[in-house]
Symmetry: C2
Subunit: 202 residues, 2 copies
């Protein structure tokens, strides 16, 4: 099993370098569970599927706290057959293999309900890609059922679903979508864009 | 058939609104072939698969021309079974159904070789998601073979492939990857981040 994320933080400010560097310490509590590598396009986080979104949440909330319009983009993946198994990625929990879709939806809802608030409102849109399945739309429609009852759903868009709310439940919604849908030991990718402090609100 | 892209342009500048608004006229030559809708997170382009990347190229080069560090993110999709058929999306050409992978690789290489230069260097990383296929990795590995001989390949990364070069051949490489790989009438998504004028070069 291999899991991780390529993440990029974009502060819309002349001081984008300072804002990015200032937010990085928010990753410190997660560093012993992650392998982190940075280049000019993104930062790779490799670690258990369950902690990728909490780590991103802490980074993004730290960057947005100063009020600058910031976005974060992440390409998140688990179970890619082209990646080597890595012990650092061992899942921390999860439902038993074969858990039916209605039970996975209920567990995901409970996870979002339990999420702590951060005080930072964010908008997000994301796409879930369950790969290597002939019936991939069943998992997508099941995930959409969960999203519509998550409390963070804003609307369906072409190619993605839009969320809005406190960063705590929004990132937890993303985490539940990523870990709870698609084949349990299979290849799932998720692509997400988050935005805070936007001057536009449509 | 439905095809389109959710695109977002991020200038890392206090004047991000002015840079975005100033670049929008670069889309004018494409407007009669596209349906365009904007909200606070992204702009939807709906139109034939072949013109999505040329339209994005013109927008991004216009935004980057002033030298500000800009990124563009796009979630691009064709053939999603959850979207309605739309006449505006009718493909403009393409190889006959069933064209073997080696012939598709050769056609994609020829497309990149013919791409006009823009004078703007960009870096890009992207993931291709051929959905609804049991053998999705065959299409991904075929696409990677094309990328490695495209002249724009920089390196493989976890979850994505990184390109670098003039925006002309880089966007054409993305366009060929999107239209030439995955099932020809099937569901393919592509997720890409492009960067220009970055202060980092790794």
């Amino acid at each position: 099993m291999f899991s991780g994320a390529q993440i990029s933080l974009y502060p819309m400010s002349d001081d984008f370098i300072g804002i990015i560097l200032g937010a990085l310490s928010a990753l410190d509590p997660w560093r012993d569970q992650l392998r982190i590598e940075t280049d000019d396009l993104s930062t790779l986080l490799v670690g258990p599927p369950e902690i990728l979104f909490p780590a991103m949440r802490d980074l993004f909330v730290a960057a947005a706290r100063g009020g600058v319009h910031c976005t974060l983009h992440a390409t998140v993946s688990r179970g890619c057959p082209g990646e080597p198994d890595d012990p650092i990625c061992t899942p921390l929990g999860g439902l038993p293999p074969g858990t039916p879709l209605p039970d996975r939806i209920a567990a995901a809802q409970a996870g979002v309900t339990a999420a702590a608030l951060t005080g930072q409102t964010v908008a997000a849109q994301f796409s879930l890609y369950p790969l290597g399945l002939g019936h991939h739309m069943d998992e997508i429609y099941g995930c959409i059922d969960f999203l519509k009852s998550s409390g963070t759903f804003e609307r369906s868009k072409n190619f993605c679903t839009k969320l809005r709310g406190d960063a705590g439940p929004v990132f937890e919604t993303l985490s539940q979508a990523f870990t709870g849908f698609g084949a349990q030991a299979g290849h799932v990718a998720l692509d997400v864009t988050l935005s805070a402090n936007s001057p536009s609100k449509v």
